[in-house]
Symmetry: C2
Subunit: 450 residues, 2 copies
Amino acid sequence: MAKPTPLSGYPELLPAQRFVETTVLDTLAEVFELHGFVNIETRAVEPLDQLLRKGDTSKEVYLLKRLQDEDAGKDAGVGLHFDLTVPFARYVLENAGKLEFPFRRYQIQKAWRGERPQEGRYREFTQADIDVVGVGELPVHHDVEVARVMLDALSRLTFLPGFRLQVNNRKLIQGFYAGLGVPDLDETMRLIDKLDKLPADVVRTQLVESGLSESQADRCLELATICTTDDSFVGKVRGLGVEHPLLDEGLDELAALVRGCAPLVTDRVRIEADLKIARGLDYYTGTVFETRLDGHESLGSICSGGRYDALASDGKNTYPGVGISLGVSRLLVPLLNSGALVADRSVPSVVLVALTDEESRPESDALAGRLRARGIPCEVAASPQKFGKQIRYAERRGIPYVLFSTEDGPQIKDIRSGDQVGIDPDTWAPPASDVRPTITTAITTQETNQ
Amino acid sequence: MAKPTPLSGYPELLPAQRFVETTVLDTLAEVFELHGFVNIETRAVEPLDQLLRKGDTSKEVYLLKRLQDEDAGKDAGVGLHFDLTVPFARYVLENAGKLEFPFRRYQIQKAWRGERPQEGRYREFTQADIDVVGVGELPVHHDVEVARVMLDALSRLTFLPGFRLQVNNRKLIQGFYAGLGVPDLDETMRLIDKLDKLPADVVRTQLVESGLSESQADRCLELATICTTDDSFVGKVRGLGVEHPLLDEGLDELAALVRGCAPLVTDRVRIEADLKIARGLDYYTGTVFETRLDGHESLGSICSGGRYDALASDGKNTYPGVGISLGVSRLLVPLLNSGALVADRSVPSVVLVALTDEESRPESDALAGRLRARGIPCEVAASPQKFGKQIRYAERRGIPYVLFSTEDGPQIKDIRSGDQVGIDPDTWAPPASDVRPTITTAITTQETNQ
């Protein structure tokens, strides 16, 4: 067959790139588990009625159809999930009697959307979601918790640019609009949500056209300009002179969130209360999250989520939830494809065990086994070439050490420095920094602190 | 909505069951990397012509179809992969210029087949594949290598029943048949392959009907009864008096395989040269592998593979490969569903940090953070209930320790023994055996050694 060509919208990685991705995924999993979140995996497919339940036609769903089905037009009644929230809500309902609530879970899986591929948006992509779900009620400190966990995780991905977690609260927005006497809260929120695409004066005109007075429109726009890295937004909102019980509730929740996250803020990973964030297309009922990657703002939000008062409901019980979803492919694939993020090895091996001749392969295998027994990844040379060729074999793969059998016993060569020393294969270990491939970054961020 | 019901053929796991699965997957990945195998991940879909390339109509393929496509009968021209070999072969061709050969890779992913669900056979299932692929040629020591790596991996899954890796070689079978003067080698192999389902006398009748003499049929059946745990099969085959150069080659390769694996054999994980194994439906050209799980032989082979002289070819180059694929779902889902394999915790947390009152949550969070900084998974109590209730909260999840703030400083209680002692949260660590949930097995194997 001829050389196959890539499928648009289905990114695949070369081994060294994939190493960067697995490092990110392993770090996320480790941090999520440190915070008591358990991993689950849901099937790739959901019944069509589940997939259409959210009623959002912008999610392009792929249906499955059996090739051997005699009725060519018939589908199998199931489609690939387009996010991890719909399957999680279904999983919670299906297994509610067997789960302990509050239920903290993380899920790292592929999802699929039939949309037009563009940078950061793919037809197949990996998401990493954390959610906490309760039965009946779920205190607001869990909103703080999921934000803290994600900040903790992002702060450990030190080879990535900085992150800016932007938080807001739907109760704050809706309470403010209600206190102002705005006629249609949802429509106003939808228009304000366009501020990242349209100039303020255009949005203002649309607000007035939608039925707001000029003064109401100005107040809504003023609210949307408030953005602080601490809880000083409370005073600024109060200064606008609007009163409503729902506004008070939203201000309290958002202030608790910003204060609760403060201990995790670093130069690289920051939080800000940005009162124009609304996530207008989703059904959040309180806290909302978005996240910008420093220097890559054009990717949009790479980590989003919020609070659902009814993530799921079975008629008897309601399950409120709060969660946040990191778009792993959206975050990494552009950085990997541009070469901004690279690993220095295309194999996990730290050591290449050289081979004198094919007859001595069992001895080289045994030597490799002694290193592996102590957790040192290694491989035995594929053929007994001249030692210079075996060293170049290691070099091409980024393997830092070659282990030789000599008359004086085993010797190890660091092929970067050329240093060669005798070692005991039952005690020698590489420096910790050599055990795993090193990830390096050629990223210039626009700014690393604000 | 009403409580959803499971989809037949799409197994999903509860958190404690999933923990068993991730432990298996993590162990496999760790061992594969220790042997220098690099992880890759391929997209879930392949173009239809790739999926049908093997020409095996028993693989029921799921096609994708966009829900919003205006032509309701039209599919997207791609389908879900039914194994990891077809996508790997395509990946090798697509990226050949960017890979280093011999290329060792492992791949742990879902695959899908639209077949009728039954125990151990699912519509969605997880496979763990290792393969070594060369360009032009690939020495037979890589056949030994992949078997050794899988034996090493299986031997570390100590909570599972024992495994019996059954190996054979197509050259041995075909050389023997050719030396005997059998008219149709493939048909004879296909009939012998039925020995695990049909009595020998029925297979004998079919062999004779297919054109073999009675003496040829007997000799083929005698070959198929040879089964040894060392290289003594060579003498037994020689004793049948058949001569052929391809037979010699097959005997040499298989003997090297059995001898090369001998250092990894344990009571639990064994190898045998079983000369009836042929994997007749696949296109192997040398070594073939199957694996039986002790006490669960009815599951069939849970780990299979072999050598392809042409895993892939682009007209210019041919890429021979040898690999082995562990059916993770086939292996684990029956054991998990029957309760034969369980984990003692439904959360990763080792410690529940108790909460005195909602106001002191920041202190409890900080205490938890000090444990997490040293890699100890923990969670803070969801609400400031009475301490007895907080202990029962931990008990229900299998969390072994509860950390209290007392007037005398932090104290930790092992809720299994009731022992409570004062600790320094910056130095205390649980015993290593408590860091991860414990997996226990209620399996009675038919036999653990042969």
